[in-house]
């Protein structure tokens, strides 16, 4: 893949990547992490499955986001910090626009928030979610269904329509 072909392919995903990172990082860090992500993409360009560049970008961005938060926060709550990386928008970020949703969102686990976000904010299909999270498509479908059901139940208390 030539530099021109690479640029053409990944420029097409720039808006999605920008939004993905902006949902999960402070604004000041978005460009730096994006640069790192595309540098990795260039270095690994021959390993990226054809036709699945965007899920691959989400998968790699997920780890960079997790690394960023580890580095910045050193967050050491034992149960949360060093398990599988999770890159989900925080309930605080959602709270700015919808308090009821934020409250329900905060009751989900990090993994559930991540699934819901990839589905509702990144608009990924189950297949794409499975690639981004490195799980089987069946597993992605089941976990997403459960996460949605849980969120609906949480929202039902405030007459979700």
């Amino acid at each position: 893949m030539s530099p021109e072909e690479f640029s053409a392919l990944f420029r097409a995903h720039l808006s999605q990547v920008s939004a993905y990172l902006a949902r999960r990082l402070p604004e000041s860090a978005v460009e730096e992490v994006a640069s790192e992500l595309f540098e990795i993409a260039w270095a690994k360009k021959n390993q990226i499955p054809e036709g699945f560049a965007l899920p691959w970008l989400y998968k790699s961005a997920r780890y960079l986001v997790a690394n960023y938060h580890r580095k910045e926060s050193g967050r050491s709550r034992i149960l949360a910090s060093f398990q599988e990386p999770v890159a989900a928008p925080s309930a605080e970020a959602v709270a700015l626009a919808d308090l009821g949703l934020s409250e329900a969102f905060s009751a989900l686990t990090g993994s559930e928030r991540e699934l819901i976000s990839l589905w509702a904010l990144e608009n990924l299909t189950t297949k794409e979610i499975s690639l981004a999270l490195e799980i089987s498509e069946n597993a992605a479908g089941i976990r997403l269904s459960r996460a949605k059901a849980k969120l609906k139940t949480l929202l039902s208390d405030e007459s979700f329509d």
Partner: protein, 451 residues
Amino acid sequence: MNDDFDLKKRIADADPAKGFPTLNESVVAKAAAGHPKPSFSFKTARLALGSASLATAALVVSLTLPSALSPQPLFTMATGSGQASATSEESKVSADQGLDAMYWPGWISYEYVAGDELSDLGGSGEVYQGQLIEDPTSLLARLASIFQVSGSPVQDQWSTPEYPSYSITNGNTNLNTYYSGVWYYSNWNDRLYACEEVISEDGEATTPGCPEPKPTPELIPTTTELTNIVLSMSSQIGITADAASLTIYRDDWGAYASWPYVINGIDTGMQNYANWSSDGSLSYFSSYNFELISRGSFDTVSPRVAVSRISEGRWYGSPPESFYRDQQVVSNGLARSEGAVPAEEPVAANESSPAEDLPVEPEDQPIPVPAESQEPEIVRLTITSSEATMLSVWDAQGNYWLVPGYVLFNDQGWFDAVISLPDGLIELPEPMTIMPMDGIQEEPAVSEMVD
């Protein structure tokens, strides 16, 4: 129109990235052009400074520094390292560690006051740095034989020189290890959740045809068997485990075990975990690959002085998991006081029974409507007892440290865990700013919703 559509629309409407501009295309072009990174950067400088600090620290191993000296910082704390505040507010206010300034409606400002019971005597405590025991690829190769995972360790695609990670993947079975020393084994069993995919009306793949899994408790090992499995596997792996420190939960759908990660007889505050699926197979196991290197013994401030550090928000560390589990102080708990020694007399926590003192946990309060109050609500908290313990923190380079500190219990039933090292010994991040929200943002147009 269906539930999923409504849910998706509502989430999309609350998208925190709405209005964020797309990055400049040069960010892609630079990557493809092999844009060289600057050979000297702030990050490089920070790394060099960190190394220099550690070299300095190595010179003082086994020495107790009098507080009158001004040593070089042992390390630079990561921002928000160890958010150790066992409170429902904590999860609301400080969950997003990445924000430089956090916004939250219903601004509450806590005032911390030291109760009369608190000691004003300092003490001393040991500082330990986490250091990888085994090369990551050697570790994975060894674990692969124990967990019977075929394959060789490879560097992950997202691995970077600064944050390397390696894995062995074979179908649904994974072995991973990260730069920090954590490693885990996972084995997702698809057969337990096999289902036929049905395409929904909107063309998106969903799985409504999944049969309800049936519990098979007879396949799950008994508590005694689980204990024996953990002890046997821990022995093979080379991590410490004893039956007395195991927490085991078992129901009809699976089982779970956790126990402290103890190295060289010191409770690191981290936990090992193991999970079993409903078919009785081991589905998850995680532990660590680091040991603790002493960086010296240092004076510590008194619990009374430590109270003044709570509101700064940058002295936090994480105490052993047992504090979160039961929020009770055990005066001679497992290695809690290892290396963190109060002065001549025990701190107040050891003299009273905190279990008696602890009030009922406050009920969750409803989230206040933004713009109702621009002035913070002042809540006064009295610290009624303390316990010397060791706290986990991470430095700016992602390294693990175990430092002396106090768990400070307040009169509302929760606690803060604060580092007790004297000023100047570690370099702290800038204080965190928590700001009130200005008001409700205008909802984006529904037409912006893409489905």
